[in-house]
Symmetry: C2
């Protein structure tokens, strides 16, 4: 929810879009507006740690992200400057995705969540190779 008071607290980081306006001044609330959903951090995980760099590779993860959600989250991450998209082939054009420096700086968030899921939810360390057969 954007209120006039929140609007005054808009971000100043030049690497992020000017039009990004937050619901509060709290750093946690701001982070959650960018990455607070069930899928965004999984895409960041795959780009960060699992060598996935194409739409197809990202789709093949164990969680089976729906195509439309993957497309919309990548678009959002690119608009936020957290992911970069570059063409690596023409006719047909194919794209590679990679984390920007700002995207890579999310590693401690991934790490903290992984540690918690490992300790409390009996989660393991995801091995993408075992699932790509």
């Amino acid at each position: 929810m954007v209120t006039p008071k929140n609007r005054e607290a808009a971000i100043h980081d030049p690497t992020l879009p000017k039009e990004l306006v937050f619901r509060s001044r709290c750093s946690i609330a701001r982070s959650l507006e960018l990455i607070g959903d069930k899928w965004t951090l999984l895409i960041i995980r795959d780009l960060m740690w699992h060598g996935k760099d194409t739409f197809q590779a990202l789709q093949r993860s164990e969680e089976r992200i729906p195509t439309n959600i993957l497309a919309s989250r990548l678009k959002k991450l690119i608009a936020l400057g957290l992911v970069e998209k570059t063409a690596y082939q023409e006719r047909p054009t194919r794209y590679r995705y990679a984390l920007s420096a700002a995207g890579k700086s999310l590693e401690p968030v991934l790490q903290a969540m992984m540690d918690w899921g490992h300790q409390k939810l009996s989660g393991g360390f995801y091995d993408p190779k075992a699932l790509d057969e």
Copy 2:
């Protein structure tokens, strides 16, 4: 999405509900199923750091969580064993909310998100007292 394969990987932590079934073995994916939304970690923040322990106090945070979302998230957090609810008054009955040990163990996740929001999103350290006038 729950598939038979995921079902086999159901959690073993005795402090969490047996019926909790995850979409993957990944610790991050599992954590996101519990806390991967825009509001849950804000409630945990308020219980952890800001001395808020009643429904009314939680409602008065800067982000103005909608009443129905607060009620449903608290219910879910209690079912997950992350929050405990105790009656502190009768006629009318009033409840206090507090983090369980499992809930408190989310502190490093909050901290990592706060650090990121502080560095990248110009977020500040939320002062609930300034907003409770």
